[in-house]
Symmetry: C2
Subunit: 343 residues, 2 copies
DNA sequence: AAATTTAATGAAACCCATTTCACTTCCGGG
DNA sequence: CCCGGAAGTGAAATGGGTTTCATTAAATTT
């Protein structure tokens, strides 16, 4: 089998210097047409591709960016990734996908690995950066690394790390969701799911309470039930709601997963959605439109989030000026689980 | 800010040669304890990490593997990826994720890119390798590349490319699904979805027909409706079934997406699942257990598929002997959409 | 005690590109 | 016809490691 040729081989065969070959490839200086064609013919003959490692080594840029996320099997993240990739492709970047599978320790491992691989930048989603009180260690780790590599935090807290961030306005999203329920006539609204030490939960609860207050409605703390962000926990918590003597007529779920769990609990109990209980989710994952009834939810604009993160990162890499904080506006997606008919 | 140190800096500060530092880092030759400690202390002091590009350049291995897949937002693929990553982590590999977003042209682009980046191996899923008649071009492209880089095809056809392959036995899966329906007493079974020029479709139809025949049941070709692999197409095709004067009592759907679309159509029509119509899917994506009724389906063992692909690739990279073809056994997952109660 | 190994280390080559610097030609302007 | 600048090219340095080869010091063998 023919082995990989190097630029030296091409140069020798074409009877020119390596610099000339390099110039032909990168169009970095004028080369006589005759020379260029001769070189090109050998490049084509051998299907020569310059070794990206060697190039990166000298150019000090790799065209690789790392993306760290907590769970690729949670459909929210592939959406973000898809958006990010769409944007990155045009700009000539490739992604290392680092899935921590919920394991916080791996965040540090991957951070270190990415540094080692000399990525041009890092996009960091979820995980520890979502804790309301993130460890000083992590802040230090990220800050230190950020002195060497541009980092963009997506939907992360960690404001004290003074990283660049792209976030969806979950507070606003929660307001949209709550107001929607209120506009439909609901006065007794519960909040379901989400760990209370995670920023996404806290922000939503805040927006929820705020909107209730703004509408002069009573906030009943016993109607805020926390838990994991999973389907089983959504179901479990909904069952708790259903056991209450006095129960809400609408439930605002921290995400689509819990909302689906909640729907299951309601349906099993033989109650109707939304007639007996209205349910609203958050994220607008593909699941939301797959379930029956289709789920009213708040779109985080996940693809947009990914695209924007890459945009910001790209500017950072080019040392252009960017805002420290970019906020994406969420959007209410009304479906059957609150209004009962297809919209 | 402190700039990235090189192995030369460490050597100079520690008063030894670069070779010695390299030996300390890689444990590739004995080094006196005193020397080692001195070197290590400087490595720690500066948090020195050797530049992976430089290392890869000489060692001719990068620890990177590329994975090309057609649609990361289709929940099947993240599952495969998660399995692959789990296995790859231990072995010290990192992934380039190349999402072609259904765009066949990008497959070639990414193939070329990955070669350029000097990945140690490539895992290729879906897309053009799933066409019943894949272009001679692609075969040539893959074959050529495969002479330089190990490639593993997952669930791909392309047997004529003489690549190493890992596949789920979709034929067997289809038999399991069909037999399940037959065992439940169904005699009138339809097949829904999937493009008829894609291998996953063809294999399933084959298994379906075979099982019907083996059970002495009639195969009615007009009950095999083809289309995309999407939710909307599932719904559309199911609506067609529902309009027939004589219609099946059970539907075998090409994948979970179409099954969900089918369920929607059935529910909208006011029919019950599985009492009026039983539905079975394929893939066992997370969607399957999210939907109501929960979907009976055939698990492709997606995580296992990913893990195995990496295993095979790893052996290829190490030039160990591997079977050309590894077959993963699918598994029937019985849920509510065929038997009507939680299992 | 002499002859061999083995341990421990450094110098230099190598991996494969890019880029600076220097040099030769060729061109148009004065 | 001479001069300055652009075109066109090559030699060599550079990037940051690994590895071979050579050398010396220490440990074994005989």
């Amino acid at each position: 089998m023919m082995f990989n040729k190097t630029i030296y081989d091409i140069a020798k065969e074409a009877g020119v210097s390596v610099s000339t070959v390099s110039r032909v490839i990168n169009n970095t200086a004028p080369v006589k047409d005759i020379t260029r064609n001769k070189v090109l013919s050998y490049i084509n003959k051998y299907q020569f591709q310059p070794n990206a490692l060697a190039r990166s080594l000298t150019k000090k840029e790799t065209g690789m960016i790392g993306i760290i996320l907590p769970d690729i099997t949670n459909p929210f993240f592939p959406e973000v990734f898809a958006g990010a990739e769409e944007e990155a492709r045009d700009k000539g970047f490739t992604f290392f996908l680092c899935n921590t599978a919920g394991n916080h320790g791996r965040e540090s491992e991957y951070l270190s690995l990415l540094r080692d691989k000399q990525v041009d930048g890092i996009i960091f989603l979820g995980g520890r950066i979502n804790l309301t009180r993130c460890s000083a260690e992590l802040v230090k780790e990220i800050t230190d690394l950020n002195h060497k590599i541009p980092i963009v935090l997506v939907n992360g807290n960690l404001s004290n790390a003074s990283c660049y961030r792209v976030i969806t306005d979950e507070f606003l999203g929660a307001k949209l969701a709550t107001q929607h329920l209120i506009d439909l006539g609901h006065k007794d609204i519960g909040f379901l799911g989400g760990l209370d030490f995670m920023v996404p939960t806290v922000q939503k609860v805040k927006g929820f309470y705020q909107t209730m207050k703004d509408n002069g409605l009573e906030i009943r703390k016993e109607w805020t039930l926390h838990g994991e962000f999973s389907i089983p926990d959504g179901r479990r918590l909904m069952e708790q709601f259903l056991l209450m003597k006095s129960k809400p007529t609408a439930i605002f779920c921290v995400n689509d997963f819990t909302a689906i769990g909640a729907i299951k609990a309601v349906v099993e109990k033989g109650l109707r959605i939304p007639e007996d209980i209205a349910i609203i989710g958050f994220d607008d994952t593909p699941l939301a439109s797959a379930i029956i009834p289709e789920l009213t939810t708040v779109s985080q604009q996940s693809q947009e989030l990914g695209r924007t993160a890459v945009e910001v990162l790209h500017k950072l890499i080019n040392k252009e000026k960017v805002k420290k904080l970019t906020v994406i506006k969420p959007e209410l997606i009304v479906r059957q689980s609150t209004v009962g008919k297809k919209v």
